[in-house]
């Protein structure tokens, strides 16, 4: 009886420690990245990144008036929240926003606005992000060390290892910098929490992790529509291949990589995830005729068929279709009357007709796939006349992020190839990696992307080390 309590108390203790560290780190970063000469003029193009603003002092009114068009993520979340609170009318622009973004960030922002008189808007988001991250990090610590009553030395080492991603600029920026004002911080946090629960689903026969995974990923999906696709496609693909291997392995006289219990759990997970992520989709279906988290996908095709001078440089492969089929692009841009439907079908048509050219164009932007949100040096030099980007000395160069992420991926691959670990677990993790790679590969190939869209994939290597380490500890 003493052991579970011991583990629980230690987990709580480390959780609190993580929370204090993350909250403090976030608070320091918000203050430290503030640049007094960064001033946003309402209705004018942005002159600096969001991190450069004085987030502690900005009110919801300030946030709602940022930017030239007031159609960006950050501004829109605040405006949507105000609409829910009855402070702004539900006009056409508002309806467009509600079609374009899932509900949780506006909801969180609405709570933050309601608490604005007590403490700053940014603090609510920081609190929530820190809480979820702390919970997740503590659970990973429990998974690898606390469950096995590891020595304090090892626990301490692993504690520091878990904190190591925060040494890197992009990771910090996505969670406590720019990401705090858009949806990355919370969506990433809940997705990784769900990933922990999914690992537990694979490692343990307990059914509770099935429902926790579905819940965490459903929340993440309701924060970022991309996470909806990643989690649903990931679970569906994984379940499908598990079923195939379940029947194929005995036929080929290979050792099994799953059991019937796992198949049942995965099926329930898929169903539960689908149900939990459906309410907002049902709402969109009723209002806009489309059963999806966002219903403004025509903007994707709009960018794909825009001439190169009209597409932002940070949008990877933004106008691939136009580059691959210039004659067709020119014809489409002669008139504004061509429908999104036509552009959608033409996009697929170009991809089918000229796949190698499409892939070549996409691969030209591969660097942006891996490099962080802050623009690469080439982009900075291209845009230096119109936008001045300042890199705080507190941010290291982007390359360490890249190297660390690659190092984690290599470590995962080495462990997967090593003998001695459970074949079943290795097989499942390898399959999961392949599925996520496939999903993100499809995103990269098809959709105009920003580098921040691939943050989860870049850092997956780090998190995939956890169940492998846990298994090794279990064996030891």
């Amino acid at each position: 009886m003493g052991q579970p309590k011991f583990k629980l108390n230690l987990t709580l203790l480390f959780g609190v420690a993580f929370f204090v560290i993350f909250f403090s780190l976030g608070a320091v970063l918000i203050s430290h990245t503030y640049q007094p000469d960064c001033v946003y003029t309402p209705g004018q193009p942005a002159q600096c990144t969001y991190e450069a603003l004085n987030a502690w002092e900005m009110t919801s009114e300030d946030w709602a008036n940022l930017g030239e068009t007031r159609r960006g993520d950050v501004v829109s979340y605040v405006i949507m929240a105000k609409a829910w609170l009855g402070q702004l009318p539900m006009d056409e622009g508002m309806m467009w926003r509600f079609k374009n973004w899932p509900p949780i960030i506006p909801l969180v922002t609405a709570v933050a606005i309601a608490l604005e008189s007590f403490w700053p808007l940014a603090a609510t988001k920081l609190f929530l992000t820190s809480f979820v991250l702390a919970l997740t990090w503590a659970l990973f610590l429990k998974l690898v060390t606390l469950n096995f009553k590891a020595s304090w030395k090892f626990t301490g080492f692993f504690f520091i290892f878990l904190l190591s991603p925060f040494l890197f600029g992009d990771f910090r920026s996505q969670l406590f910098g720019r990401g705090l004002f858009v949806s990355e911080s919370l969506s990433f946090s809940f997705f990784i929490l769900g990933l922990y629960c999914f690992f537990q689903t694979l490692l343990s026969p307990s059914w509770k992790y099935v429902f926790f995974t579905a819940a965490a990923w459903a929340v993440s999906a309701n924060i970022r529509a991309q996470m909806d696709l990643v989690s649903l496609l990931g679970v569906a693909g994984f379940t499908f291949f598990m079923v195939v291997f379940y029947f194929l392995c005995p036929a080929l006289k290979l050792s099994p990589i799953t059991s019937s219990l796992k198949l049942k759990q995965l099926s329930v997970l898929l169903l539960t995830l689908f149900i939990l992520s459906s309410p907002w989709k049902i709402r969109n279906w009723a209002k806009a005729g489309s059963f999806s988290m966002i219903t403004t996908s025509e903007s994707v095709y709009h960018f794909l068929w825009s001439p190169s001078d009209k597409v932002p440089s940070w949008l990877i492969g933004g106008n691939t279709a136009c580059v691959v089929a210039p004659n067709l692009c020119s014809a489409l841009n002669q008139s504004t009357q061509y429908s999104g439907d036509l552009k959608k079908h033409l996009t697929l048509s170009v991809l089918i007709s000229k796949p190698s050219e499409w892939i070549k164009v996409r691969l030209k932007g591969w660097k942006l796939y891996w490099l962080p949100t802050i623009l690469s040096e080439e982009s900075v030099s291209e845009n230096k006349d119109s936008i001045s980007w300042r890199m705080s000395h507190f941010y290291f160069l982007q390359w360490p992020d890249l190297f660390f992420a690659f190092f984690c991926w290599m470590a995962v691959l080495v462990v997967l190839l090593m003998k001695g670990a459970s074949k079943e677990l290795k097989g499942q993790l390898a399959l999961l990696i392949l599925i996520f790679t496939g999903i993100y590969g499809i995103f990269f190939l098809l959709i105009p992307c920003e580098p921040r869209y691939f943050m989860v994939y870049r850092w997956l290597g780090f998190f995939f080390l956890m169940p492998l380490l846990a298994f090794k500890r279990k064996k030891a």
């Binding site: 006289k253 004659n327 439907d341 079908h345 697929l348 048509s349 089918i352 007709s353």
Partner: protein
């Protein structure tokens, strides 16, 4: 190769004489001379109304709009024997139709000259059809011990009006008769290869398939799809067995042998059709016996009021995505020409169920060529067409049941001819794929109907009840 027996030659001669007679009697004796040289591009009369005995090659060159099969086969044949120079339209014709039938027409033209050659062409076809039927007569033990009954059972196939039309009636001026003959010979060769499991039999099967491909591009399309699936299945089966047995790859196993034979058939067929395909590739950058397959996708995007009547369901994509279709037709041709195929695929994947349901609703035009309800219930041709269509369908169901449920004895004692069975299965799938995508005339389903009849007769021939 064994010398054909006297019995074989006798049966062959009887079939040739009977088929020639049937062909001659099938022709109408009331010539419609106004069909030709009318100065108008439209076809004034149907081909079955024409008296081929009294029609010259020159008249057929002027038949109809000048863009149809009939006229162009003749023009290509004239080009082959040096009596016509190649122009733009003739170039288009040479990569729109494969050279098999025009080559035969050219041979006949060279022997007989340009006038009134059609009866001679029928005679040449009768030789080939007679050869085919005598092989079938000897290889399938239907009513064995009752030669007269057996002979007339085979000949009674010509009672089926569409079969007769496609072989000896229409065959005067079109390639169907030759395509059907060579296709059935290919089926016989494939079945033989599956029974003998020798390299030479696989080579002959490949040669026969290539010959059939040269007669009609549709056969080549179906063969390409079928053989690709066959090769993929053979490789998978080989890998499956290899992984299962954990031994080094061994081609002497069952799956190894199967893979060898399939690869030989595929290689032989591909090599033999390669010269003309390569020639077409040099001209059009499309590696195919029919390099105008783009027209399939052009038809898909033709508005319904402009879709040609002789292809009933050609513009499925346009019907399912009407708004997109209207917009596509406002785009400049040079911008959209390369992307119609991809657009069609995109619309299919956006509406797969609707697409399939739409196609299935037009099953009658695929299989029978007549509507579900006749204009008058006393219309004999409607009844005959449906009886014949149902006969083919019945043979297919019977063949499927017979081949899918072999007795345990037959599996134990004899190899169940996996090669032929798998070819038949994949050929059906290939037809389904083409039916889903391509604009269809009902004569395009003939090869599938023939497969059903052949397999059905093979199954019937195996039944002990029919043996004396």
């Amino acid at each position: 190769m064994k010398k054909p027996s006297r019995q074989f030659i006798l049966i062959w001669s009887l079939f040739v004489a009977s088929i020639f007679l049937i062909g001659v009697l099938s022709q109408k004796w009331n010539p419609e001379t106004t069909c030709f040289n009318s100065g108008t591009p439209e076809e004034i009369c149907k081909t079955e109304q024409v008296d081929f005995w009294r029609t010259s090659a020159k008249d057929f060159v002027n038949y109809g709009s000048g863009m149809g099969d009939v006229t162009n086969y003749l023009k290509i044949a004239e080009y082959f024997i040096g009596e016509r120079k190649r122009d733009v339209i003739l170039s288009w014709a040479t990569y729109n139709w494969p050279p098999g039938f025009p080559a035969i027409v050219a041979l006949v033209l060279k022997l007989t000259g340009p006038s009134y050659y059609f009866p001679k062409l029928l005679f040449v076809l009768s030789l080939a059809l007679g050869f085919l039927f005598s092989i079938l007569y000897h290889s399938i033990p239907l009513f064995s011990g009752r030669p007269v009954l057996r002979f007339f059972t085979w000949l009674s196939i010509f009672l089926l009006p569409d079969f007769r039309f496609q072989t000896v009636q229409f065959a005067y001026i079109a390639s169907e008769g030759w395509a059907i003959t060579t296709f059935v010979l290919a089926l016989v060769a494939l079945r033989s290869a599956g029974q003998k499991l020798t390299v030479s039999s696989a080579v002959w099967a490949g040669v026969a398939l290539a010959l059939a491909s040269y007669m009609r591009a549709l056969v080549d399309t179906l063969n390409s799809l079928t053989l690709t699936l066959l090769v993929a299945a053979a490789i998978l089966a080989f890998l499956f067995e290899w992984i299962r047995q954990r031994k080094r790859p061994n081609l002497s196993t069952k799956s190894g042998r199967y893979l060898q034979l399939v690869l030989i058939i595929f290689a032989v067929q591909s090599i033999l059709v390669a010269p003309w395909k390569f020639r077409n590739y040099k001209m059009t950058k499309i590696y195919s016996l029919c390099s105008t397959s783009d027209s399939v996708f052009r038809l898909h995007w033709t508005p319904t009021d402009k879709a040609p009547g002789w292809i009933k369901t050609s513009n499925v994509a346009c019907r399912l995505a009407e708004n997109v279709c209207a917009e596509v037709n406002t785009l400049p041709e040079e911008a959209i020409v390369d992307y119609r195929k991809g657009l069609t695929v995109s619309v299919f994947f956006a509406n797969p169920v609707k697409w399939i349901i739409y196609r299935l609703k037009t099953f009658n035009s695929l299989w029978v060529g007549f509507s579900y309800k006749p204009s008058s219930w006393s219309d004999g041709s409607w009844w005959m067409a449906w009886i014949e269509g149902l006969f083919y369908l019945g043979m297919g169901i019977f063949a499927g049941a017979a081949f899918l449920s072999p007795s345990p004895k037959s599996i134990k004692n004899k190899a169940p001819n996996i090669l032929f069975r798998s070819y038949a299965l994949f050929f059906i799938l290939a037809n389904l794929a083409v039916f889903l995508v391509a604009p269809y005339e009902h004569r395009y389903s003939f090869f599938l109907r023939i497969l059903f009849v052949y397999v059905g007769l093979v199954a019937l021939g195996r039944k002990k009840i029919w043996k004396s």
